[in-house]
């Protein structure tokens, strides 16, 4: 088991290193932040001066080396957008808003997706099953920005029930959380349904029923416990995608989290902030995958024995 964990950890570190190289390269490919910082009135001298100050006149390899050196010392760089906070400080300041939103949307996804998946499997080929399948299809195919805009128009502008955007209270969470969680609700519903169908068909379930175990216990205790392994594997991905995929939702609802920060930093070509955000997002992704891998190995001995 320890060897398995060590291997997974090393793989995570390599993935993070690769991410830094890719993000560093790609952000440079998008162009030069000097043009955004300086107005149209800037002169060539202004431009050169800024290039020197930002270190953009140095070879890319040197820039990357300086960047990695700073990262290893915990310095994620300066931020054009938030000069007072720096890149790391800006991410830390905005992360809680995203964590709250992602947390609520994950709760929604689990709270709605799991029961819907279970009931859909139990009531296979009934109108309820068909409805939940349609719902899941919609959840996975409707773009969340569109869903967000439509909800905003109906529930905030037309009906006036909810605030359009921003943060403030529980009401502010409702539309962004549903928008962000819609894809995950659909994904969990489908995963749970298919895992439950397989489990409901297994021999031990038939035996339990023959032995007179109540249907409620068969479904919610014996079947769900076994069927949960598949969604659990996927849960790590869902958690990470929810956190990192909040860019559109946060932008539409003006939610001041890291997703909106990412959008704004791309527009202002705030290289170091973009790098810090992607590094943090990647770290979250790698970490949640790591946790799920360990959990999975813990729950399924075949995996840990095979790897050791």
């Amino acid at each position: 088991m320890q060897r398995y964990i060590a291997i997974r950890f090393a793989q995570g570190l390599i993935a993070l290193l690769a991410v830094t190289i890719i993000v560093f390269g790609l952000s440079r490919l998008t162009g030069d932040p000097s043009t955004m910082i300086l107005g149209l009135d800037a002169t060539a001298e202004d431009y050169e001066r800024l290039q020197q100050r930002l270190g953009l006149d140095r070879p890319l390899v040197v820039q990357y080396g300086v960047y990695m050196g700073n990262v290893l010392q915990g310095d994620l760089g300066e931020s054009i957008k938030y000069p007072e906070l720096g890149a790391g400080g800006a991410v830390i300041r905005r992360l809680p808003a995203t964590l709250y939103l992602a947390g609520v949307s994950l709760l929604l996804a689990i709270g709605i997706g799991v029961p819907l998946g279970v009931l859909s499997a139990v009531r296979r080929d009934t109108p309820f099953d068909s409805s939940s399948k349609v719902l899941a299809l919609l959840g996975q195919s409707v773009p969340n920005f569109w869903m967000g805009l439509m909800m905003m128009w109906i529930f905030a502008v037309q009906l006036g029930w909810l605030p359009t955007s921003g943060t403030g209270g529980i009401k502010h969470f409702i539309m962004p959380a549903i928008t962000l969680g819609s894809f995950q609700i659909a994904a969990i519903t489908r995963l749970v349904r298919s895992a439950m169908l397989e489990t409901l068909d297994s021999e031990y379930v038939k035996l339990a029923r023959i032995k007179g175990v109540s249907e409620w216990k068969v479904v919610w205790k014996h079947c769900l416990r076994n069927a949960a392994l598949t969604p659990l594997t996927y849960f790590g991905v869902i958690a990470a995608v929810t956190l990192t995929g909040s860019v559109t939702t946060e932008t539409v609802f003006n939610w001041p989290g890291t997703g909106l920060l990412a959008f704004q930093s791309v527009l202002s070509r705030d290289f170091e902030l973009i790098q810090a955000l992607v590094l943090v997002f990647s770290g979250i992704f790698v970490f949640s995958s790591f946790v799920v891998d360990i959990l999975y190995a813990y729950l399924d001995p075949r995996i840990r024995y095979a790897s050791s």
Partner: protein, 543 residues
């Protein structure tokens, strides 16, 4: 010198305490005026003030923190006599010349991104006494009226006392920056908003805002801003003309700047035709290093064809919903040096829509249908959301006269890099000029070869020579003639595609706001926030 503005009427009783405006997100969110470009001053405008103000109707320079000023005969030294008894917010003492010199020092810091850093770096300050200060420039500085005002100026005066209290640390202004305006800084919610509170004593110039608090709320998405306005969460929003139509249909009102402040025009890319740089030094190889060979629109007939192939009136009606006027010569306006009424009088004849003539002109130039192929850059420039739509309409109109067009979508920064890299050969691109610069500055920014020019929309010897005249001449008549000559040349030779001139607009909710008078001197933001007038209690709407 114009007289100071009259003392305002007493504040009306507003229905709400805090008026909230939904705006686009600034490049950075900071109280440090030296870190961002001048367009970021939307954050500093409510509490900060400049030496020279712009009159709310005409935009003419009028006294502000400087009660008067004078310029020496050579335009090298600008001397300001300052207002006395102007208090800093939060008890930071009285405004003096030391604050002006201190602000100047902030703008010339190594890490300053001041809009006019290159100009500031050629200056020094000299304090005569607490209420008198001079700026000495290496070169004649005719644009001082703009440098020291809100009209592109970023010399928003900062307190030396607050700076010194923080031991000269960069964070001195971060928490609670002081100012001299009729609003004082309230606070900032990073990523969301910044707000201000009305001062609880008489403003030194008599400004008396109707609202106790003002908030700029940042929202990147236009639909979000529109929804917030219609839902009554904000009382004003920065919306494009297209969306203003929806807002107006739902009872909102548009308040425009008193002056058109945004010109757009198209450049026929790759027209790097100069043989000398802008300092009239010959290029080593006798041609601009950016010249890569003849292009169709190096021929004036082709440029004329492209111009008469555009139905400007239809675009004004369909794209701008009637809220735009024509630009005649880019950079020029009736209040800039060198303006000529002839351009207006002859515009319909020379530039009027005539697709048949366009086809004929192309044929005369030797180009049949489909023989000219161009890329058209579609990008969104902040403050000019109509550009992608304009590009589409122009493409359709030019296809109709036999030009092959290919629309290329580019993000703003990438587009700007491309222009500055001189990589717009056989590419049509739209630039904007806001607020409308002086003729000399406009020529430098958009037309002149290096080393003075940097954007390089068009370069040739005639424009360089006329710009050089403006650079060296202090004779008003000579300057007027040089500026006129440059304008005539651009106009008669169809050097560009003059497009449209617009105001800056804010969409407001007339249930809470009755009006807002501002001149249009900001870049993609309104100024004069003390003029936001409340729709008073007891009045249902103020349409």
């Amino acid at each position: 010198m114009p007289a100071p503005t009259e003392a305002p009427a007493p504040a009306a009783t507003a229905k709400i305490t805090r008026v909230i405006m939904a705006n686009t997100v600034p490049l950075n969110e900071s109280n440090r005026i030296w870190v961002g470009p001048w367009s970021n001053l939307v954050q500093n405008d409510p509490y900060g003030e400049t030496l020279i103000e712009n009159q709310e109707i005409t935009s003419e320079p009028i006294p502000a923190l400087a009660k008067s000023w004078e310029v020496d005969a050579g335009f090298n030294t600008w001397t300001f006599e300052l207002q006395e008894g102007v208090p800093w917010h939060f008890g930071y003492g009285e405004f003096t010349a030391a604050d002006v010199a201190h602000t100047f020092e902030l703008l010339v810091r190594e890490d300053s991104n001041s809009n006019f850093k290159a100009i500031w770096l050629t200056a020094t300050t000299e304090i005569h006494n607490d209420y008198s200060i001079s700026f000495h420039f290496d070169k004649p500085q005719l644009t001082g009226g703009r440098l020291f005002s809100r009209l592109q100026g970023d010399l928003v005066i900062q307190s030396k006392a607050q700076w010194d209290e923080a031991g000269g640390d960069d964070s001195a202004y971060d928490d609670r920056v002081t100012g001299t305006g009729s609003y004082q800084y309230g606070g900032r919610d990073l990523g969301s908003s910044v707000w201000y509170e009305k001062i609880d004593y008489d403003h030194w110039a008599g400004e008396n805002p109707d609202f106790q608090e003002l908030e700029w709320q940042w929202a990147a998405e236009q639909f979000t801003r529109l929804s917030a306005l219609l839902a009554g969460e904000v009382q004003g929003a920065d919306l494009s003309r297209e969306v203003q139509v929806d807002a107006k249909a739902r009872g909102m009102k548009v308040v425009s700047s008193n002056n058109e402040n945004n010109q757009s025009y198209g450049f026929f890319g790759g027209t790097y035709l100069s043989t000398v740089d802008s300092n009239l030094e010959p290029w080593p190889d006798g041609q601009s290093p950016n010249y890569t060979g003849p292009e169709p629109w190096h021929n004036p007939l082709v440029r004329e064809a492209f111009n008469v192939g555009v139905d400007r009136q239809a675009i004004i009606e369909e794209v701008y919903f009637g809220n735009a006027s024509s630009v005649y010569v880019p950079v020029y306006a009736p209040f800039t040096e060198g303006w000529s009424d002839r351009w207006v009088d002859e515009f319909d004849t020379k530039y009027g829509y005539d697709p048949e003539r366009a086809v004929q002109l192309l044929a005369e130039a030797g180009y049949g249908p489909g023989e000219i192929s161009i890329d058209m850059i579609s990008t969104v420039i902040p403050g000019n959301p109509e550009i992608p739509q304009l590009i589409q309409v122009l493409s359709t109109m030019w296809e109709a006269i036999g030009v092959d067009t290919n629309i290329v979508e580019l993000e703003f920064g990438t587009w700007l890099d491309t222009v500055r890299d001189h990589d717009i050969h056989e590419t049509f691109t739209i630039l904007r000029n806001t607020p409308i610069r002086t003729t000399q500055e406009g020529l430098r920014v958009f037309w002149v070869s290096p080393p003075d020019g940097f954007l390089f929309g068009w370069e040739d010897d005639v424009v360089n020579e006329k710009y050089d005249c403006l650079e060296r001449s202090l004779d008003i008549e000579e300057r007027e003639q040089c500026a006129r000559d440059a304008g005539d040349y651009m106009y008669d030779d169809f050097l560009t595609l003059p497009l449209f001139q617009t105001t800056f607009d804010m969409t407001i909710d007339p249930e809470f706001i009755s009006g807002w008078v501002y001149p249009g001197v900001g870049s993609a933001h309104p100024t004069h926030v003390h003029n936001i007038k409340a729709c008073p209690v007891g009045t249902e709407r103020c349409d």
